[in-house]
């Protein structure tokens, strides 16, 4: 083996081969020949190498030509919606205080659709590094005008050249960001010639180092060539970058308070769950259900899908179940899914309940399905995990469950509700039937919860009647 220490080559923070990239060419980037994104990627990867930050970094890719950042960087990767990378980065930075965030964005992404996100992330001083690639055009979509396109620049959407009276002047983002109080470091660089590439390399390194030192928000604007969008050869594009772009967008540091700024202050502690419950007026009532550690420890994950037609209250059944789980000190998510027609269409919801942390809120393999109508059974029967349970509203659904590897429980939910005096409470029958059968949580605690949630006493009493009727039916006919 040859010793590579004295060589300059591919940085370690790139994957060896780009397995996520489709096609055969897994060692080159997807960009056009001469594209500045590739140059900038290398500088970021080198900085991650020398600061040993790659393992703790989440690279947030934008929408734009660099949407596929996750092909290349051997870091954590998230691809954000257009313009939203700083918002996604905020979430990552706040959730993982030991990690680092790179928000990599084009000028369409950052200076057009994402203007609000970048301004506010900067203004909050989030501990992240934004690499803003300013090529003065929308590359990905075929060369439309960006807020940063220069005066007179002809693009697909400014065929006669950018007219400032009509379209405003090109936005200088570094100057704007630097004017905010919170950012600690703002510099504009250009990946044109060797001298400027070196400055860009230093700036990216400085910004990432500042983030590592928890100094707060750092912003590096990189002027970059888009030969394809500019309709120039790569070599001529570099000339335009130097002669035209670097003139309108002066290079240099717009802010550097790294020496004087202390580490970014921690926000005040958030209110506890109990404080929030108290503020909502359900304070100590929240503790009405007594939960033991063993109950929580032994709780078996419930992945529940409740489905029916709009108006049957399937979403409310889900929130009721979710609420109950919260009062049992379980982790829970509730995700509704319905068409634009709030009534009459189909509706269903996902409820994930377990004893520690819910990963995805999406229940694609439920172990509990509650089918309030026929189409719901048709649609979701096959998604149920083997060994799971399907509760069927037999008042409406004539068919039987076809699967033999799941338990089927038939409960005339609509009839039971009607007999108990509230027709609309079939959803409550569904929840009560599920709890009576599975014993996942104590049925009496559902009653306790209702007493807290419903203000009107008649409504509480009627629902208690429904719950008892459901329990009786299940114990008599289904166990």
């Amino acid at each position: 083996m040859e010793n590579l220490d004295n060589t300059i080559g591919k940085p370690q923070s790139f994957y060896d081969t780009f397995e996520r990239k489709p096609g055969k060419d897994k060692q080159i980037v997807h960009y056009c020949p001469g594209c500045g994104h590739g140059r900038i990627h290398k500088l970021i990867a080198e900085a991650l190498d020398s600061l040993e930050m790659a393992d703790e970094t989440v690279f947030v890719s934008p929408v734009g030509c660099s949407v596929f950042g996750y092909y290349y960087f051997d870091t954590g990767n998230i691809q954000a919606a257009h313009g939203r990378a700083p918002a996604v980065g905020t979430g990552v930075a706040r959730a993982n205080k030991k990690g680092y965030v790179i928000s990599y964005q084009g000028d369409g992404d950052l200076a057009a659709i994402g203007t609000a996100e970048i301004i506010h992330a900067a203004n909050r001083g989030e501990n992240m590094t934004v690499i803003f690639v300013n090529n003065g055009i929308y590359g990905m979509t075929g060369g439309q005008m960006a807020p940063t396109s220069l005066e007179g620049q002809k693009t697909a959407t400014s065929p006669y050249g950018r007219d400032i009276a009509d379209m405003g002047a090109p936005i200088r983002m570094s100057e704007i960001i630097a004017k905010l109080d919170a950012p600690v470091y703002v510099e504009r660089v250009s990946v044109s010639d060797f001298k400027n590439i070196n400055k860009a390399k230093k700036a990216i390194h400085t910004a990432l180092k500042a983030q590592k030192d928890r100094k707060g928000f750092t912003f590096v604007e990189v002027l970059s060539a888009c030969p394809e969008g500019w309709k120039l050869s790569p070599v001529d594009a570099i000339k335009r970058l130097q002669d035209v772009m670097e003139t309108y967008y002066p290079l240099g540091q717009y802010k550097n308070e790294l020496e004087t700024r202390p580490t970014k202050a921690e926000p005040l502690p958030r209110p506890s769950d109990k404080d929030i419950m108290t503020a909502l007026g359900v304070g100590d009532k929240a503790a009405i259900i007594n939960v033991t550690d063993t109950f929580v420890k032994n709780f078996k994950e419930q992945r529940v899908r409740i489905s029916g037609f709009g108006g049957q209250g399937v979403l409310l059944a889900g929130t009721t179940l979710g609420n109950l789980a919260m009062h049992h000190e379980l982790a829970v998510t509730w995700l509704p899914s319905y068409g634009p027609e709030m009534r009459g269409g189909t509706a269903n919801c996902h409820v994930m309940i377990n004893n520690s942390v819910v990963g995805t809120p999406v229940v694609d393999k439920p172990n509990v399905l509650i089918a309030m109508n026929g189409p719901s059974l048709d649609e979701f029967e096959n998604t149920v995990e083997a060994g799971g349970t399907i509760f069927v509203n037999s008042s409406i659904v004539d068919k039987k469950v076809k699967r033999t590897d799941v338990k089927a429980v038939y409960v005339p939910m609509t009839n039971i509700a009607e007999d108990a005096g509230i027709k609309k409470a079939a959803n409550m029958v569904a929840v009560a039937a599920y709890l009576s059968y599975s014993k996942a949580m104590d049925l009496n605690s559902l009653i306790d919860l209702l007493k807290v949630n419903f203000k009107k006493k008649e409504l509480v009493d009627a629902n208690i009647k429904v719950i008892h009727a459901a329990k009786e039916y299940v114990e008599k006919n289904c166990m």
Binding site: I8, F14, R39, K201
Partner: protein, 78 residues
């Protein structure tokens, strides 16, 4: 064992998109575009064979992550 070596540059022909940025920015003008095409259909950059000073300019000029490797120091282990 180490042996005396002059600086040099290695360019992977099959990983080159022929953008010529390395060629135009090399201070010693020791790179050129070859006549052959690679599998992607690009004329690829090649090292003329001598005169490289190992400055690394071509590496940073190239938008590809690992197409160019520059051997900068005089000493290298074989």
């Amino acid at each position: 064992m180490s042996e005396e070596k002059t600086p040099r540059v290695e360019i992977q022909p099959e990983l080159c998109k022929g953008c010529e940025l390395c060629i135009s920015q090399c201070p010693k003008k020791v790179l050129e575009l070859g006549k052959d095409l690679n599998h992607m259909g690009y004329n690829f950059a090649t090292y003329k064979g001598d005169g490289c000073i190992g400055c690394g300019v071509c590496f940073y000029a190239c938008p590809e992550p690992g197409t160019i490797r520059v051997y900068k120091k005089i000493r290298g282990d074989k």
